[in-house]
Amino acid sequence: MSLNSKDKAAVKALWGKIAKSADVIGSEALSRMLVVYPQTKTYFTHWPDMSPGSEPVKAHGKKVMGGLGLAVSKIDDLTTGLMELSEKHAFTLRVDPSNFKVLSHCILVELATIFPKEFTPEEHLSYDKFFAAVARALSEKYR
C-alpha cells in the first residue's frame, strides 16, 4: 500500500490549505483524540491541563502538524526523512505504535469537518495511505 504519484499529488494539493490552518487542525485533532480515546491521555500526565483547547494541547498539536509538514516535504523517502523522529518516538517517547492509527483517524475526522467539499473519498484515500506510511516510518526504529 505504498504511495503512488496520484497519492503524493493529492496529499500535496490539500496540504497547501491544511498548512494555513495547521495550528487549529493540530489542536482540534489532538483534543478529539484525548476525548475519544482516553487511553491516549496516559502519555500526557506530565501536562498541567489535558482538556481540549488547553495551552499544552495547542502547543503539542502545533508540534505534531510541524512533523506532518516535514513528512510532506520528505514524501519521496519517509523512512530516511523521519529517521530522527522515529528514534525519538522509539527510545524517548516510547509511544505504542497503535496510537499512530488513532491520531490519524482523529486528523481525518478534523479534515472532514473543516474541508467537507475538498475531503472527497479519493482525497481521504490518499491521506489515509499517507498517514499509514508516516506511521510505518515512525515505527522504523522501534525494534
Binding site: V35, V36, P52, T113, P121
Partner: protein
C-alpha cells in the same frame, strides 16, 4: 448490557433524526469502497466499481448504502439491548454473506467521517466520542455470532 446516559441517548437520537438517509448512506458506503478497496469483494454483482468515479455513480451502491444505514435504526430503537437486536443480522453476515467483521469497523469509520463532513464544527469531540461509542457497540454486536 451497555449503559447509556441521557445525554448520550439525546445526542445519538439527534444525529439520526436530522439525517437524510438517502444522502448519507450512499456517501458512507462509497467512501468505504474507495478508501478500502478490498471491501469491494462483496459487491461483484453491483456492476462497475473499477474507478472512484464509477463507484460514485453506481446506483446499486447508493441503494445499498441507504439500506445499510437504515440497519442502524434497529439499534436506535433497542438501545438497551443492541447485542440481541443484531443476532440475526450477525448470523447472516457470518454464515451467508461471509463478511470479515473488521469491515464493519471500516464502514463505521467512513460513516463517522461522512457525518463529520455534514455536521462540520458541531461534530465536536464530545459528539464524536458518543457517536463512536454507539457505532462500536453495533460493530461488536454484528461480530458476536461469528464462530
Amino acid at each position: 448490557m451497555v449503559k447509556w446516559t441521557d445525554e448520550e441517548r439525546k445526542v445519538i437520537s439527534s444525529i439520526f433524526s436530522n439525517l437524510d438517509y438517502d444522502d448519507i448512506g450512499p456517501k458512507a458506503l462509497r467512501r468505504c469502497l474507495v478508501v478500502y478497496p478490498w471491501t469491494q469483494r462483496h459487491f461483484s454483482s453491483f456492476g462497475d466499481l473499477t474507478t472512484a468515479a464509477a463507484i460514485m455513480k453506481n446506483e446499486k451502491v447508493a441503494a445499498h448504502g441507504t439500506k445499510v444505514l437504515h440497519g442502524l435504526d434497529r439499534a436506535l430503537k433497542n438501545m438497551n439491548n443492541i447485542k440481541a437486536t443484531y443476532t440475526e443480522l450477525s448470523i447472516l453476515h457470518s454464515e451467508k454473506l461471509h463478511v470479515d467483521p473488521d469491515n464493519f469497523r471500516l464502514l463505521a469509520d467512513c460513516l463517522t467521517i461522512t457525518i463529520a463532513a455534514k455536521m462540520g464544527e458541531s461534530f465536536t469531540a464530545a459528539t464524536q466520542v458518543i457517536f463512536q461509542k454507539f457505532l462500536c457497540v453495533v460493530v461488536s454486536a454484528l461480530g458476536k455470532q461469528y464462530h
